[in-house]
């Protein structure tokens, strides 16, 4: 789950004791003008949970209240990376001496937390890694032991950070503590600025909460940005089903993420286009009735592939749900089945007797027929 800058700063950084600039959250140009009167010369920043806001024109400087109002008017009309700008963060302007990069994230290969620091702040870490890989310092930690100040001192050694070094060490330590406490998947400060007056301040912040940990971060999750979903995807989520609507015309109902992806791949392989990804894996295999309803509610669907390969999921239970949904919805789209694995005999008999349809032996043949029918 992603967070906008203002929420990440307020709920994660400030709580952890990492300094940020004075700022105010606004949702209209009038509010922005008022805030600027209070703050003085300021930066007007679009609040969307995505990078490259500056390049998109979503960050503007304003010296006066009037300039802040104009900047706010312009930015509030924007859409950045698919997100309509609805909120602005106004922050005081800072006199920046140097810009650094700091982050904590999962190292999925080492299976441990990784702290990153670079003196090349302000650009994406991918860009830094490509341009100056030697400029990135890395520290692998262990979730079961608290890191020492000397761990952070070690990673900063030889970087010539001057008097800011102690502040940076403390910020890295607090950043890691916050990543652990709030179940971060990524907690990034870019840029981490040294101001002309010597203070070290987080100018921006990106926080991604581990989706699997939302259950134990309920308060924090309320401030997160729900992933943008179509109405149909929303309906799926309400029923505990992960649906991704695509622009094709061959509907897909399969069990398990791997088999569902493969069904989509084979549709493409035969020149067709899948209309959705929909997983009824794990315990969700009992939800095939509502799942089929969702797939058929997509107006783009011209034909349907139902591909079951039962392991944990019982194909007879899934087929019962499909038959129930089929009788209820009486859809007109042609449907092509392939059914194997746990409960196969009962499932095939059910589809044959109740729907009068003979499943294909190979999924490739069912899919080829469905692609042809959709054309």
């Amino acid at each position: 789950m992603n967070f906008e800058e203002h929420a990440a700063k307020l709920l994660v950084l400030s709580v952890a004791g990492i300094p940020t600039l004075r700022g105010m959250l606004c949702s209209t140009a009038a509010e922005a003008a008022m805030a600027a009167t209070n703050i003085g010369p300021c930066v007007v920043k679009a609040q969307v949970p995505i990078g490259k806001r500056g390049k998109a024109g979503g960050i503007k400087l304003a010296r006066t209240s009037d300039e802040a109002r104009k900047a706010a008017e312009q930015i509030l009309l924007m859409s950045i990376g698919g997100y309509t700008v609805e909120r602005l963060l106004l922050e005081e302007q800072a006199q920046i001496a140097r810009e650094f990069y700091a982050a904590v994230l999962h190292d999925v290969v080492a299976r441990r937390p990784l702290v990153l620091f670079s003196t090349e702040g302000g650009m994406d870490i991918e860009e830094i890694a490509a341009a100056k890989p030697a400029a990135i310092r890395r520290l692998l930690l262990d979730v079961d032991s608290k890191p020492n100040a000397s761990d952070f001192a070690g990673m900063l050694k030889g970087l010539d950070l001057g008097p800011a070094e102690n502040q940076i060490m403390q910020i890295l330590e607090r950043l890691y503590t916050a990543y652990r406490k709030y179940d971060g998947e990524l907690l990034e400060i870019n840029p981490l600025a040294v101001l002309v007056d010597g203070r070290v301040i987080a100018l921006d912040c990106k926080f991604v909460l581990d989706d699997a940990a939302i259950y134990r971060q309920p308060e924090l999750a309320k401030a997160g940005v729900p992933g943008s979903m179509t109405a149909l995807e929303q309906r799926g989520a309400e029923n505990g089903l992960k649906l991704i609507q695509l622009d094709g015309n061959v509907g897909v109902l399969a069990n398990g993420a791997g088999l569902t992806m493969t069904t989509m791949d084979v549709i493409r392989h035969y020149g067709g286009k899948p209309a959705n990804f929909l997983e009824i894996g794990g315990e969700a295999y009992t939800k095939s009735e509502i799942a089929l309803d969702l797939v058929l509610s997509n107006p783009g669907v011209k034909s349907l592939v139902i591909n079951f390969c039962g392991a944990f999921a019982r194909t007879d239970v899934m087929a019962e749900g499909v038959v129930r949904a089929w009788h209820k919805l009486a859809p007109r789209v042609p449907v092509f089945f392939s059914i194997h694995g746990t409960g196969e005999n009962e499932a095939v008999a059910l589809v044959r007797n109740e729907l009068g349809i003979e499943p294909y032996d190979f999924m490739e043949d069912a899919i080829q027929a469905a692609v042809k029918a959709a054309q």
Binding site: D144, L259, G281, A313, F362, E364
Partner: protein, 301 residues
């Protein structure tokens, strides 16, 4: 990570609906389930095996080499750490959606105690004709048959389909190793490939990968040195960028973890990459027929 009949299996969460159902299936197939763990039911007998309060107690009283977890995400870390501390050698973690920082703690504990974790989010391990641990349809004769092909899969459903296709083509399996759909796995594609390479009962390997992460690319560097033929299928070529395709591990951002990157790495290691699952069995036959001597020559170069 190839399970055997002699392995003593402890089932964590044995008294739940799934724990009960799959324990009975495992025992009926030949798996030596020796104990279950549930602190609230300690002292009872369930599906014919004794229940203990902790894994340590189960191991002390009846022994245990392998543990399999039917445990919900919020309790998975504690169960896994306790199993590692109890001296379990192989821990099969079926649970999906465990918080990532808990998964890191599980892997840390496993490393300290010399435990191999398979998973999280795996469907389990099958040695056809011998035993199985997990939630795979080992007992469905149309899917699994004893033989000499090793299968590695991130997905249970797709792995099932591929074993079914092999069995239909007359190719039995020496072992099915479900490594799991999570991004941070205890056993990687490369680990499983090494195990099957060293297994004298395996003549060829089928690798069922997915988009996301770098495991297939890493496995390809090992595959270069192998003389046993390898056939791969990578799921997710049609998946849109930046969307999680069900498995938390299956997400492509930029070019990292893409279908093209994996296919290229595997083909450079002389692995045959199939376009659809039904092509796999044919490619295995071709691989088995082609001269071993040629394979060895190339490998030695």
């Amino acid at each position: 990570m190839i399970v055997r009949k002699k392995d003593r299996v402890v089932v964590l969460g044995i008294t739940g609906k799934q724990g009960t159902f799959w324990s009975e299936k495992m025992m009926a197939y030949g798996t030596d389930v020796v104990a279950g763990v549930n602190p609230k039911r300690a002292g009872e007998t369930h599906v014919g095996v004794p229940i203990f309060a902790t894994t340590a107690e189960a191991v002390a009283k009846v022994g245990g080499d392998v543990a399999v977890m039917f445990i919900p995400p919020a309790m998975a870390k504690d169960a896994a750490v306790s199993a590692a501390e109890a001296g379990i050698k192989l821990l099969v973690v079926l649970t999906e959606h465990i918080p990532a920082q808990d998964v890191m703690a599980m892997h840390g504990a496993a490393a300290r105690h010399g435990t191999r974790i398979v998973g999280p989010n795996t469907a389990g391990l099958v040695t056809p004709g011998e035993c199985f641990v997990g939630i795979m349809p080992a007992f469905v004769p149309s899917v699994f048959k004893a033989g000499r092909i090793g299968v590695i899969s991130r997905s249970g459903s797709l792995g099932t389909l591929i074993c079914l296709n092999l069995t239909r083509a007359g190719l039995g399996q020496s072992a099915f190793i479900g490594i799991g759909g999570d991004p941070m796995l205890g056993t990687t594609t490369r680990d499983a490939l090494e195990a099957l390479d060293k297994d004298s009962g395996t003549d060829a390997v089928v690798v069922v990968g997915e988009i996301g992460g770098g495991m297939e690319e890493d496995a390809a560097t090992y595959a270069k040195k192998m003389t046993k033929p390898i056939v791969a299928f990578i799921a997710g070529s049609a998946a849109p960028l930046g969307k999680k395709m069900g498995h938390a591990g299956a997400i492509v951002t930029g070019s990292a973890g893409s279908y093209a990157s994996k296919r290229q790495a595997l083909e450079a290691a002389r692995v045959t990459v199939a376009d659809t699952p039904s092509e796999i069995a044919g490619a295995v036959f071709v691989g088995l027929k082609s001269s071993r001597a040629d394979n060895k020559l190339v490998a030695n170069q």
